[in-house]
Structure formats: structure tokens, C-alpha cells
Subunit: 422 residues, 2 copies
């Protein structure tokens, strides 16, 4: 049996006019995929009745077993979703006195006077259901039509998520009982996509046709996503994943939803190492990516953002002579920064970045995008690498941060006993 | 004349399966709206030939004057966009020897051997154009069919943006010369949305009906987006904007695409101030948000991420006695951190954050989310504020960073002569 199809509609002119960044599409795509649905499409639509009417009737003409919308359930004049779904499904909305009383009671409990617009939120479908909203006013709406389910959820992400977890996901699990497909995500760093692809070419040729392999390159590395339908033999899937692990072993930093920073902190914890950072061009992004991981404080002692040359001298002890002789963007300064922060904080490992993020500051022998990354420790480890990153300031900063994480992971990995696996 | 319509197609199973968070839809929605287009829809689609074929032909059946796609232009087997657009438009792709030679040359310049797959990136439409990609391999593709333009852009956000800025936006401006609607974005910080709304209530009542005001709250503050159709009198629009400026003056840090960090750097440059940061719970995010602004180095000298208590002592001179007596998350430590980094780097202003981002580390009198933010300088200015932010670790870090920027802007703003305007 193929995966049941789902179609997602995200409603609101604030989305299509770029005034608000959508958060629900990504969440619903993840959750629906997890539940075993194939998401055939996510549509973002403005609050225009004619476009919404057309989109709803197009959605009802697809083979999708689940139609799910977010947004447009408020009480202002541009909130059209409930009425237009009712219209498309030949249904009518009516005020439920019980729901209205409950909403009014919630207002009184927080010391507010119930307002007339609460009636809008108390409307329930005659031939459908209202799903109580645990954190906001607008209930979710649920219709069943033959094999198909139609769900309308409120747009605020906290409300959508609460309704999803408490009401929608359990009902969908009951109703579709879809067996989730097999999926595995293997994350590598240190090899460009073309070399990962070359490494896997032979194996890919022998991969059974029901399997699908997708490449997801990012600045941190290449993630491989292996997918197979729920019907196949679980042993067969596991066998292919193990083969993939074996081929990628030297570059594999983790599986599933792990980040490179998490993998680094994990390696450090395993070996009892502590970390310190010294950043010039990455300006705090490297430290921030480590601190973003819960529990970072066990491993990450701190860092210095030595943006001005004077800060490199004062806070890190970089020699004024080296700065003048070799320039701030040099192998020697990168190594002195890493050594300086390592010593000052008493860390096992010091990592440093120094470079020219642009748009100004480049020269013929050190163009914009030139970045030195150094690592000192654990033990006697000392290395520095030069990069020339293309792109604008933001891109250079992001790529330099990712490259520092990648070098750090590889440096830490080398210190592991040879028999150990990622 | 109504605004020309645009339709956006974002292609890639990594988007519909929730493996990658889309960034292009938001960017294109903003840019197209800015150029005067009405975005009738943004569709996210998986790499399935039948669904893409249907979506392309449906797009060609709408009245949209501009169809723009992102993604699916790479060299792997799931990259279908170029071929399917060519098919839908009755066109053929052919390898351009000149483009192939240029791509091979780019490989050689960075010391790489040109690979056979470069041929995929050298294919250009016979009855369309290839737009050179300044930062990646895949050119953009451009077709004109009657009144309609069809553009295919690569999926990596840095490549899409570079192509957009250098080639697509200028061409669209030339071709459509749409009279953009009047828009103004005024950015405030330091007031919650409900208080901004109360401040503007009287003015909003008198606003002519053709105008639309939207509120965009973020952690950094509330942005107000005023919109009026292209047909109205420009003087009338300007008059309303001036009224809005006057009402918001004490909180208004900028207009248009300016960030709070940019406004801070601007205020510092105006007054000849330099900045230094000392971060505990924000872990580098505060420094990073300043460094992200081009030209930050004129103002921002550097900072310390003093994550461990030992780092607060060693790098900032925070007293061990105060740490033991008051705790790391306290007014006294925050002030000593700000003073310490200011003195060590010789900056006009020192800003510090110290708090508990969670998920662990909270206590009854200092729950997770407790954050102290201190500012010392310019001159004799000294202040510290306590916050208790709700949310998960990421949210607390983001809100603390935003609050530090907001306090910094307000602190700097107070030192301006009273007559000055933002």
C-alpha cells in the first residue's frame, strides 16, 4: 500500500507578502512525514476569497486523503477559512452555546470582560467537529468525507502545535494507522557532495529499486537520507543502512536530528575534553553554535571575540610583532589566537578563526573570503587551514563557522582510538 | 492598473518532507511585494515528475505574469526543474560550449579537476536565456512568452539571492515597470504590541480606508507596515507616514530594511562610541548580531563569551567573592562583566548578559529564563535589568539577545541631544 497523501494549505496575506515567516509548513511537513503521509504539496495563499475557493476545490479534487489548513480562523474580516471550508464541503457553521459559555468563562478567569467577537470562535460545523484549543480561542475544525479527512487549524504556531499534539496527531494515527516508511539520515562532514557521490556510486547501483537516496548538502557537510516503503523487510533496510555507515565511516558525525555542534560536544564529553574559542571574522557565531546545544556548559568554557587587533593582543596575548609582520589574517595569528584562548581558559582544545568577511578589507593576496582556522590541542595537536570562501558577508561568516566546526570534529575524531566508530 | 500577479514554486522533497526549512519563499515574497507584484501563491512541491508537470501546467494556466521557481537545478537524478520547464514551454536545453569552458575554468582556478557533471550546468534553453550565477554552478534560466516571464533559480539561498540581486530583480523592474504600491516600514523597540496599538488607536481611526496598517511583532520590537495603493496622492501617503513617525518617535529605531544592530552601530558611529560585549547565556549571539552588519569593525571592538565562572574571573575580572555571594546570574555580576569588558578593551560602552537558558540550572528564586542585562557607559551611564523569559532554550537565548540590543539602543539614544530624531 503506498503512503496516504496529504496536502497542506497555509493561509494568510502576511505570508505571501513576506511580512511574516511561515513556521507551520515546516512543522507539519515533518510531522506528517513521520506519521507516514506523503506530502504532495504545501501551498501558501493570501486572504483572497476567489483564490482560496479555487485552492480548496482543487485540493478536494486531488487523491489526497488528508487536507490540512492553517490560519484564517480569527475574528477579523479577512479570516475566511472556516466559512470557505464549510461552503466547499456543503456544511454550515452554527454557534455552540456550550462552547461560547466556555470561552466566556476563560475570559472571566483572567479578569477580562467577554467580548462579542467570542461568538466567532464558538461556531462549530453541523456535519463536522470542533477540536478544543488548549492555548488559544479558535478551535480546530475536523470533517470526515468518505476516505478523506479535512482539518482546519489556527495560524499562531503555539496554538497549531498544541492542537496537533493533543487532538489531531492521535486521531490521524487511529484513523489512518499508516505504517511509517523506513527512513534514516546519516550526516557527514569534510567531503564535498561530488566526492560523497563518487564514494557511494557502486553501492547506489546495487540499491534495490524501492529505496531512494537523497543528498542534502549544507555548509556543515552532506547529509544522506535513505528512504524505503513500509512494506519492505526491516532486515533489508537495516542491512543497507549498515553498508552506508561502513562506506561513510570516516566522515560520519551522526544520525538523525543531530547537529555538528552536538557531535563535537559529545566527542568532548566522551574523552573529558573542554573547549574554548577565539573568533575574529566569525564574530561569536562559533561560540553561539556550541552554546545553542543544551548542556554545552559541561564542555564549552568560553571564548573571545577579538574583532579589533587590540583585542587580539589584550585578551589573547597575540604578539603585536606577528600582527604587524604577518597581518591579522594569517596562519601565525590564527595559531596564536587558538593557543592564547586555550591557555587563558585552561581548556583542552582552542579553536580560532581570523579572516576577511567583506565587503571591504580585501587585497590581491588576501581577497575577501580569505579565512584561517586553527586548532590547538588536545595534547600536541596543532593545525591551521586556509580557505577562500565565495559569497557575500553573511555567507562567508556562515561558511567559516561551519568549516571551523568541521575541522574541530575531525581533529577530535583523530584523537579517538582507531577501533571506535561514530 | 492592478498589480501584476506572481506565482512562486519551491521545489524539493527535502522541503515537503520537513528535512530542510525553506528560506527562499519568504525572501521571494518580500522582494516580489516590494517590486509591486501580487503574490497569488507560493507552492512547495516534492521532486516527483508527475506532480511537478501538473504544477507547471497549472501555473501556466493562471493569469500570473511571472512564474518563478527555486530548486531542482543540480546535477543529480532528482533535479528535474530545467527539463520540466523546457518541456512545458516547448523548448530544448543544449550544452553551451562557452558556458562549459567558463565553469571548467572556475574549477581549475581553485585547483580542482573539472568533472563530467559540469555539462549539466552548462545547458541553456534554445528559446530562452541562461543568467550567470556569481556564487555557484547552476545558472538561472529565463524565458519570455508573450506577456509572461518564467524564471528558474537554484535552491541554495545564497545562490538564489545573488542571482536575484544581480540579474532577476533589475530585469523584472525593466520589464514590468510596475508602479509599486506605497509602503513604509517603521521599526520600534521597547514597547509591547498592545501598547503600540493603544498609542496608535486614535490615528488608526482617522486613517483613510485605502490605507492598511499591519503589525509585525518580533523579539526585537514591533514593526509597523503601512501600505496604500499606487493610485493615491503621494503627498497623502507621506503625510500619514510623518504622523506615524511623530507618534512613535521615542521608540523608532529605523525605517525599511534596517536591523536593530544596524541602528545601534549607526548611533555609535554618529557619536564616536565603541562597543564591547560580555556574554554568558547568550553565548556569542549578541556579538554575532553586531558583527553580521557590514562595517561593524569601526565600532565593535570585540567581546568575551564567559560561559564558565572561571572565564568570568580570568577574562573579565569578575570578583570570585561576588560570584560566590550573589551567584553568576545577578545584577552585580552583570555589571562587573560589562565594566570588565569595557575596561579591558578600552570601549566607550560595555554590555553584558548573564542568565539561565535551561533546560537545567533553574531554582525557585532564579527559574530557567532569568536573565540579567547590564550596560556600562557611555560616560557615567550604568544600568541593569532583570527579565524572566518564557520558552525553551533557543527562545530564551534569542529573547535575551534581542533584549540586550533593545536596552543598548535605548541607552545610547538617551545620550543624544534632546532635539535629535531617529
Amino acid at each position: 500500500m503506498p503512503a496516504p497523501e496529504a496536502l497542506v494549505l497555509l493561509i494568510g496575506s502576511e505570508l505571501t507578502e513576506g511580512r511574516l515567516r511561515d513556521q507551520n509548513g515546516f512543522f507539519l511537513s515533518q510531522e506528517l512525514t513521520e506519521l507516514g503521509f506523503f506530502v504532495r504539496e504545501v501551498r501558501l495563499l493570501p486572504d483572497e476569497p476567489s483564490l482560496l475557493r479555487a485552492a480548496f476545490s482543487e485540493a478536494l479534487a486531488t487523491p489526497a486523503r488528508l487536507l490540512i489548513s492553517s490560519g484564517g480562523l480569527g475574528h477579523t474580516s479577512d479570516d475566511l477559512t472556516a466559512d470557505l471550508w464549510a461552503e466547499a464541503l456543503g456544511d454550515v457553521l452554527q454557534v455552540s452555546p456550550a462552547l461560547l459559555a466556555a470561552l466566556e468563562e476563560r475570559f472571566r478567569q483572567v479578569g477580562r470582560t467577554p467580548l462579542p467577537y467570542l461568538e466567532r470562535y464558538a461556531r462549530v460545523p453541523q456535519r463536522g467537529e470542533a477540536l478544543p484549543n488548549p492555548v488559544g480561542l479558535s478551535p480546530g475544525l475536523w470533517w470526515e468525507r468518505g476516505l478523506r479527512v479535512i482539518v482546519a487549524l489556527p495560524g499562531p504556531p503555539a496554538e497549531l502545535r498544541a492542537l496537533w499534539q493533543e487532538a489531531v496527531a492521535p486521531r490521524l494515527r487511529d484513523r489512518f494507522g499508516a505504517r511509517a516508511p523506513f527512513t534514516a539520515t546519516l550526516r557527514t562532514t569534510g567531503l564535498p557532495e561530488s566526492r560523497v557521490s563518487a564514494l557511494l556510486a557502486e553501492w547506489e547501483k546495487r540499491l534495490p529499486s524501492a529505496f531512494r537516496l537523497a543528498y542534502n548538502p549544507s555548509w556543515e557537510g552532506v547529509s544522506l537520507h535513505l528512504h524505503a516503503p513500509a512494506e519492505i523487510d526491516p532486515g533489508l533496510f537495516e542491512q543497507q543502512v549498515q553498508e552506508l555507515r561502513r562506506l561513510l565511516a570516516p566522515y560520519l558525525y551522526g544520525e538523525g536530528a543531530v547537529s555538528l555542534a552536538e557531535a563535537i560536544l559529545h566527542l568532548c564529553r566522551q574523552q573529558g575534553y573542554t573547549l574554548a574559542t577565539a573568533e575574529s571574522c566569525t564574530g561569536g557565531h562559533l561560540a553561539a553554535s556550541l552554546v545553542d546545544v543544551p548542556g554545552a556548559s559541561e564542555v564549552f568554557l568560553g571564548g573571545v571575540v577579538s574583532y579589533a587587533n587590540s583585542a587580539k593582543e589584550t585578551l589573547l596575548g597575540v604578539s603585536a610583532w606577528t600582527l604587524a609582520d604577518k597581518g591579522a589574517v594569517s596562519e601565525e595569528v590564527a595559531l596564536q589566537m587558538a593557543e592564547g584562548v586555550r591557555q587563558r581558559l585552561g581548556a583542552s582544545v582552542g579553536v580560532a578563526t581570523t579572516g576577511i568577511a567583506g565587503p571591504t578589507g580585501g587585497s590581491p593576496d588576501k581577497p575577501v573570503g580569505t579565512v584561517w582556522i586553527a586548532q590547538v590541542g588536545p595534547g600536541a595537536h596543532r593545525s591551521a587551514h586556509r580557505f577562500i570562501f565565495p559569497g557575500d558577508r553573511q555567507t562567508i561568516i556562515q561558511r567559516a563557522t561551519a568549516a571551523a566546526l568541521s575541522l574541530l570534529w575531525r581533529g577530535l575524531r583523530q584523537t579517538l582510538p582507531q577501533t571506535s566508530e561514530a
